[in-house]
Symmetry: C2
Subunit: 150 residues, 2 copies
DNA sequence: ATTTGTGCAAATCGTTTGCATCTGA
DNA sequence: TCAGATGCAAACGATTTGCACAAAT
């Protein structure tokens, strides 16, 4: 970490990156508020991630970014609706948000409750059935469930 | 519906079928209690189904089968653990239980929140990546998400 | 100034659990 | 008999919502 200090009690975001993130949010039709910028920074400055709302909230607090859990939820959904995140449904209990919105699939490690990307190039799905009349395929999700051997 | 009336206030289950269901439960290591038999009957006497706990509970009440929601949940999980049902994770909020435990995949109709089977023969997944060291592939789920065209 | 976002706490939803009671083998 | 099931209500965890306040354009 190489952030300069500031005085508002929130984690600073570096100037250049702030600009980029601001545009990203603005392009998505979202006002670049302090909280959204901070969360975006946490989400997008360390490669592809799969986070739950709770995890991101804790991470934010740890990074001295003062946001409420409700705002984290709101923000994650706003980002998802804007196409900046993708919600991954692996098990019905917790929602995971994936910063990788390109075409790809997932490993789900059952004992650890962890999601890992699998590049689309590494799985081929063929012979997809037709979508019924009046419907179209929105997306095909492949989840490879892994468990510890024996 | 073609059930004969009885007096205990619960939906009757026909004799022959009861015997089959009893064995099915017994074979799975579950005592064939009245509630489990009734729920099994609802689940398995009308082809492959995808039900939520709540839906099954309402269906049971409608059929004059007097079970509590808690028991429905317990039963669904016991059946799942016993391999009589399969839990389908399509969206993190509700769990769907599938009476089809053979190898197959799913359509998920987004606006209707409905799950439909796709025979395994109709989708081919190839070039699966290796499972990491010490892990094995427990299952591969393919979910084809459908939405209404425009 | 006006609109949009935020924080908080309370509400909601699906699900699980503790415990007293009942039931099937 | 008696382990195992059930029902109920209360507990629970994840998520959403209502509303007063604060920040962004």
């Amino acid at each position: 970490m190489n952030h300069s200090q500031n005085t508002d009690g929130n984690a600073p975001v570096q100037g250049c990156e702030t600009t980029k993130l601001s545009s990203k949010l603005r392009d998505a039709g979202l006002r670049p508020t302090k909280q959204r910028l901070s969360l975006a920074h946490l989400l997008y400055s360390q490669g592809n991630r799969h986070v739950s709302a709770e995890a991101l909230h804790e991470e934010a607090l740890g990074a001295k970014v003062d946001v409420s859990l409700a705002t984290v939820y709101n923000t994650l959904h706003q980002f998802t609706d804007a196409g900046l995140l993708r919600a991954v449904a692996v098990e019905s209990s917790k929602t995971y948000f994936d910063t990788n919105t390109t075409d790809h699939h997932h490993f789900f490690i059952e004992n650890e409750n962890r999601v890992v990307d699998v590049p689309a190039s590494q799985i081929h799905v063929s012979d997809l059935p037709e979508a019924p009349e009046g419907m179209e395929i929105a997306r095909v999700d492949v989840i490879v469930r892994l468990r510890k051997k024996d």
